[in-house]
C-alpha cells in the first residue's frame, strides 16, 4: 500500500515537472526558431517589395514584441527608469581620476559621471537622480546585458564586435582617445620598439590587452604581459612597484593616473599611439527609443557648445531670435516628445550640467591636474571631431 502511495507521489511529481517545464523547454525553442524563420522570410519579401517594406518590418517587430511576453515590460527602459525615479549608470570602478573618481565624501566626480548627470537631467529633470553602478573591465558587459545598469558611461571603446555580436548600441563618442604606453623616465625607452624583452602591465578584458598583443606581434617584440583583473588601481600599482617596464592603457587614463604616483616626474608617456579608442556611452541593443534618448542627450551637449549656449547664458538664450537655438532648447517645436521626454530636455541638460566644453574643462581642463588639451575632442568648426547632427 505504501509502495502504491509512493508511486502515485512520483507520478504526480513527474506530471508537475512536465507541466512546469513543457512550456519553457523544447517547445519554446522550436517556436523561437519558427518565429525567426518567419521573420527572415518576411524580410525577404520586404526586400522584393520596396513599397511596403517598412510596413512589413513593423509588423514583424510587433509580432516579436507580442510573443516576447514577459520581456516586453523590461525592454521599455524609459518607463522603468521613470518609475524607479533614478538612473542606474555604470561608471567604472571609481578609480580613474578625472573620469570617474570617488571623492573623500563618497560622492562620484568626473567627466563620465557628468554624462550620467546629463542623462538624468534629460529624463528625470534632476541631475542628482543617478545611482553609480561600479563596473570593471570584465563585469561591465554582463551588468548592462542583465539590466543592472540602464546605460554605461565608463570609457568603453566602440568596436565592431561590441556594437554587433555583444548586442549593444553605442551613442556618439564623447572622448576620442588612443592607447598609450607609460614607462619609467630613466629607463632609456624612447619608442615602443625599445620595449623588446621587457614586461608590460595591462588590465584584462579590455581592448588594450588585445591591441598590445596585435601591435607587439606586428613589431616582432618579445615581451611579457602581466595581466591584472583591474579592480581599482592594481595594474598601475604593480607598475609603480617595478613589476613591469611598461604600463599600457588609454592615454587619457595614463594622464589621469599621473596624480596617483608619488613622484609623477619619475614616469613618462611615450609619444606612440597604439590604437584608436573612441570612448562613449552605450546601451543595450533592442530599445530604440532609449538609444535615441541617450544619443540626443549627448548631441545636445555638443550642439549647445557649438551654438554658444552655456550654463550661465542658457536662460537668456530662451529669448533668442535664432530659430536653431530655440529648436534645440525646445522653445519651439516638439522634438522632445518624439522620444518620450519633455520638449525642454536639452534646456534641462545645459542649465543643470552644462555643455560639452564646460564638462570637459571642469574635469580635464587647464584648472585640473591633468590639463588635457581638447585636441581632436574639439568642435568640428575648430578642427576637431565633435559634430552634432542638427536639432530639427
Amino acid at each position: 500500500m505504501k509502495n502504491k502511495f509512493l508511486l502515485g507521489l512520483v507520478l504526480t511529481a513527474v506530471a508537475v515537472f512536465l507541466v512546469a517545464c513543457g512550456g519553457g523547454g523544447e517547445e519554446a525553442l522550436s517556436a523561437l526558431q519558427g518565429q525567426v524563420s518567419d521573420l527572415e522570410s518576411q524580410l525577404e519579401e520586404a526586400k522584393s517589395m520596396a513599397a511596403d517594406a517598412e510596413a512589413k518590418l513593423d509588423e514583424a517587430m510587433a509580432m516579436g514584441d507580442e510573443e516576447g511576453g514577459e520581456m516586453a515590460a523590461s525592454t521599455n527602459t524609459l518607463a522603468t527608469v521613470q518609475e524607479r525615479g533614478t538612473l542606474l549608470c555604470g561608471t567604472g570602478a571609481g578609480a580613474s581620476p578625472g573620469f570617474a573618481f570617488i571623492q573623500e565624501d563618497g560622492s562620484w566626480e568626473g567627466f563620465n559621471v557628468d554624462f550620467c548627470k546629463v542623462f538624468a537631467a534629460a529624463i528625470l529633470g534632476d541631475p542628482e537622480a543617478i545611482e553609480p553602478v561600479v563596473t570593471t573591465g570584465t563585469t561591465r558587459f554582463p551588468i548592462l546585458q542583465s539590466g543592472d545598469a540602464d546605460v554605461l558611461s565608463n570609457n568603453t571603446t566602440w568596436t565592431f564586435s561590441r556594437d554587433t555580436a555583444l548586442g549593444f548600441d553605442f551613442v556618439p563618442t564623447v572622448f576620442y582617445d588612443g592607447q598609450g604606453m607609460m614607462v619609467r623616465a630613466d629607463s632609456g625607452i624612447e619608442t615602443l620598439a625599445d620595449l623588446d624583452g621587457g614586461s608590460v602591465c595591462v588590465a584584462t578584458g579590455t581592448t588594450t590587452e588585445k591591441n598590445l598583443a596585435d601591435v607587439f606581434r606586428q613589431l616582432d617584440i618579445d615581451y611579457e604581459a602581466v595581466v591584472f583583473e583591474d579592480t581599482g588601481d592594481t595594474t598601475r600599482s604593480a607598475f609603480a612597484e617595478g613589476r613591469c617596464d611598461g604600463y599600457t592603457t588609454d592615454t587619457s587614463a595614463l594622464v589621469g593616473s599621473l596624480v596617483l604616483f608619488d613622484d609623477p616626474s619619475e614616469v613618462k608617456i611615450l609619444p606612440d599611439v597604439m590604437s584608436k579608442e573612441p570612448l562613449g556611452p552605450l546601451v543595450r541593443h533592442g530599445d530604440d527609443n532609449w538609444f535615441d534618448i541617450i544619443k540626443w542627450s549627448v548631441n545636445c551637449t555638443i550642439q549647445a557648445e557649438e551654438l554658444g549656449i552655456t550654463q550661465a547664458n542658457v536662460d537668456d538664450m530662451l529669448g533668442s531670435d535664432n530659430p536653431t537655438i530655440l529648436n534645440t532648447l525646445g522653445v519651439e517645436g516638439d522634438l522632445g516628445q518624439a522620444i518620450g521626454l519633455n520638449n525642454d530636455f536639452c534646456y534641462q541638460i545645459i542649465s543643470q550640467v552644462g555643455n560639452y566644453g564646460e564638462i570637459f574643462t571642469r574635469h580635464l581642463g587647464p584648472d585640473t591636474p591633468f590639463n588635457l588639451s581638447r585636441g581632436v575632442n574639439a568642435q568640428w568648426v575648430d578642427g576637431g571631431l565633435l559634430y552634432s547632427p542638427p536639432f530639427r
Partner: protein, 548 residues
C-alpha cells in the same frame, strides 16, 4: 515490507471506528496524523522546489533571448543554439605568458582555456603537496612539549586562520614579493646562478637538445639493467648465501651506461648549425677565437678586458637566434665558455632572423641545421654562405643572463605564480594543522602510554602508533580542505596569475559570451572537485576501520 503490515497508515485503521464518530472527525484524524502531515510536507517541498526550478529556467531562457541571436551564429551564418560554442575556435588574441604548454596569442580560445586549466593544476597541485607537509608539521608542532615551538605554531595557526585568504594573498604579492629588489639589483645568493627580484625567481635550468632522445634511450636501458642486476644478485644471494651490495652494483652499471649514452649521443649529434658568410673565413666553431684575435688586433683573448668600450662593442659578435630555442642555450654556452664577447638578437621566426642576417645586423644565425638548410636557399647567392656544424650535448644548462630589461634564460618562477602558491599553502596549512591536531587528539592517551611502555622512540610512536590511527579521523576533513584549495586557485585573479578563472574572464570579455563561458567554467570546476573527491574517498575507504 514487514513494517508495512505491522503499522498500516492511519491511526484509526486498527481500531474499528465507533458508531457515533462522524465522517468529519475521521477526516480530521487523518489530517492530524503525524505521518500524513510528514508526507504532505514533503509533497509541498517538492512542489516548491519544482516551481523554483521552473522560475530559474524561464529566467535563464528569457536572458538567453535578451542576449540576442548574434550570440548563437554558426560558421555558415545561420542561427542555432547548438552553435553557441563555435566562437571558441576563433583566434584568442591575448597573451598568457606563464604557461607550461606552447601558447601564442594567435591560438584558439579553446587552447587558451586549456592553458588556463593546466596553470590551475600547476599551482594547485604544488600547493596541495606543500600544504600537506606544512600543515602536518604545524599540527604536530602545536602539540609539542617544547613551549616555544607549540606557542609559535599556535600563533601561526590563529593568525592565518582568522584572517581572510584574499588579504593574505594581496599582502604577499604587493608587500612581500613586489617589495623585493628591482631586477637590476637582483639578489644572487652565494653567487649561484639564482636571481631573486620583483620579477620573480630565476635559476639555471637544464634544457634537452634534440639529440637527448638517444641519451634518454640509454637511460631507460640503464634502468632495465638496474632491475636485472638486482634480480640476478638476489637470486645468487638466495642460492649461495653470498652477500653483495646490490644497490651499488646496480647504480654503477646505470652510471656506466648513462656515460656511454652521453658520449654516443654527443658523437652522433649533428643537428645544430651556424649560418655564416664565406667571407668570414670560419670553417668550424673553433675558428672564432682566431677571428676574435684578428678583429681586435690582440694576441690573447684575456686582453679583451683591457680594450676600451667602443672597441669592444666593435668586435662583439652579433648572433641571431630563435627565441626560446635550445640552439640558443647551446651556442651561448659555447661562446661564453670560450670567453668570446657576443650579443644575441632573439627572433620570433626564422624569416625574421634571416631578414636581419641579410641586412647585416647580425653576422651569423645559430639554429638547427634543418632550419638553416631551408633558409639558405632563400638567399640570393646561397654559395656565398655556409653552414658550420656546432657541437652539442644532449643536455645543456640554460644559464640566466642579463639583457636590457629582464634576465633571459633559465627557469622563471613568476611573482604571480609564487604569490598564489605561497598564499594558498600558508592559508590552508593553518586549517590543516588543526585537522591534524584533532586527529592526533582522537587517539586515546592509553595508546601513547602503551607505546612508551614498549620502549618505542618518540618518532616511532608518532609514525607507527598515533598517525595511522589519526589518519581515519583526518581524511574526511582533509578532503574538503583539498577541494577548497583547488577551488581557491581562482584567487589567482587577484594577483594576476592566469589560471582558468582569469583566462575565462578575459575570454568572456574578448568574445562577449558570458553565459557560454560561465557554463564551461562551472563544468571545469565541478570536474576538478569530483575528480579529487573520488580519489580521496577511495583512499578513505582503504584507511577506515572495517566495522562489523
Amino acid at each position: 515490507m514487514a513494517q508495512t503490515t505491522v503499522s498500516p497508515p492511519g491511526s484509526g485503521a486498527d481500531i474499528p471506528p465507533p458508531e457515533e464518530q462522524s465522517i468529519g472527525s475521521r477526516v480530521m484524524s487523518y489530517i492530524f496524523d503525524i505521518r500524513f502531515l510528514g508526507v504532505l510536507g514533503q509533497i509541498a517541498f517538492i512542489l516548491l522546489l519544482l516551481v523554483g526550478a521552473q522560475r530559474i529556467f524561464s529566467n535563464f531562457g528569457s536572458n538567453v533571448d535578451k542576449l540576442g541571436r548574434a550570440q548563437f551564429i554558426c560558421r555558415d551564418g545561420r542561427f542555432a543554439y547548438r552553435c553557441a560554442y563555435d566562437f571558441m575556435d576563433n583566434e584568442a588574441g591575448f597573451d598568457i605568458d606563464d604557461t607550461a604548454l606552447d601558447y601564442v596569442n594567435t591560438d584558439s580560445f579553446w587552447w587558451a582555456l586549456t592553458n588556463g586549466i593546466v596553470n590551475t593544476f600547476r599551482v594547485g597541485l604544488l600547493a596541495l603537496v606543500a600544504t600537506t607537509f606544512l600543515g602536518t608539521t604545524m599540527g604536530i608542532a602545536r602539540m609539542s612539549d617544547n613551549w616555544l615551538v607549540s606557542r609559535l605554531s599556535l600563533a601561526y595557526i590563529e593568525i592565518i586562520r582568522n584572517t581572510p585568504i584574499l588579504v593574505q594573498l594581496l599582502l604577499i604579492y604587493f608587500s612581500v614579493i613586489l617589495a623585493l629588489p628591482d631586477i637590476k639589483e637582483a639578489v644572487q645568493p652565494f653567487n649561484l646562478p639564482i636571481f631573486l627580484s620583483n620579477r620573480g625567481l630565476i635559476m639555471a635550468w637544464p634544457q634537452f637538445m634534440s639529440s637527448a632522445s638517444i641519451w634518454i634511450a640509454f637511460l631507460v636501458l640503464g634502468v632495465i639493467q638496474f632491475q636485472v642486476m638486482w634480480m640476478f644478485l638476489s637470486r645468487r644471494e638466495e642460492k649461495t648465501g653470498q652477500e653483495s651490495s646490490k644497490f651499488t652494483w646496480g647504480l654503477a652499471g646505470f652510471l656506466i651506461i648513462a656515460a656511454i649514452g652521453w658520449i654516443v649521443s654527443t658523437a652522433v649529434a649533428e643537428n645544430e648549425g651556424l649560418l655564416i658568410p664565406n667571407s668570414s673565413r670560419i670553417d668550424e666553431v673553433e675558428d672564432f677565437e682566431k677571428l676574435m684575435l684578428a678583429r681586435a688586433g690582440i694576441n690573447h683573448l684575456s686582453e679583451l678586458a683591457e680594450l676600451p668600450q667602443e672597441e669592444l662593442d666593435a668586435v662583439t659578435l652579433n648572433v641571431c637566434v630563435l627565441r626560446e630555442s635550445s640552439s640558443e642555450a647551446n651556442f651561448v654556452n659555447r661562446l661564453a665558455s670560450e670567453g668570446i664577447p657576443f650579443k644575441i638578437s632573439r627572433n620570433g621566426s626564422p624569416a625574421k632572423a634571416m631578414a636581419k642576417y641579410r641586412d647585416g645586423s647580425c653576422e651569423m644565425f645559430a639554429a638547427p641545421k634543418s632550419v638553416l638548410a631551408a633558409e639558405i636557399a632563400t638567399l640570393e647567392t646561397p654559395t656565398d654562405h655556409l653552414i658550420v656544424p656546432v657541437k652539442e650535448r644532449p643536455l645543456v644548462w640554460s644559464i640566466p643572463r642579463f639583457e636590457k630589461f629582464n634576465i633571459i634564460g633559465g627557469l622563471l618562477l613568476t611573482p604571480e605564480y609564487f604569490a598564489l602558491f605561497l598564499g594558498l599553502t600558508i592559508f590552508y596549512a593553518g586549517g590543516l594543522a588543526e585537522v591534524v591536531r584533532a586527529g592526533i587528539l582522537s587517539v586515546s592517551k592509553g595508546q601513547t602510554e602503551a607505546a612508551r611502555a614498549l620502549g618505542l622512540s618518540e618518532g616511532q610512536r608518532l609514525n607507527l602508533i598515533v598517525l595511522p590511527q589519526a589518519l581515519r579521523v583526518i581524511i574526511p576533513p582533509l578532503i574538503s580542505t583539498y577541494l577548497s584549495l583547488m577551488k581557491d586557485t581562482s584567487l589567482g585573479v587577484a594577483v594576476a596569475f592566469q589560471e582558468v578563472y582569469l583566462v575565462s574572464q578575459t575570454l568572456m570579455n574578448q568574445s562577449g559570451r558570458a553565459l557560454q563561458i560561465m557554463i564551461v567554467l562551472m563544468i571545469i570546476y565541478l570536474s576538478i572537485s569530483i575528480f579529487f573527491s573520488a580519489i580521496l574517498n577511495w583512499y578513505n575507504d582503504r584507511v577506515v576501520i572495517v566495522e562489523r
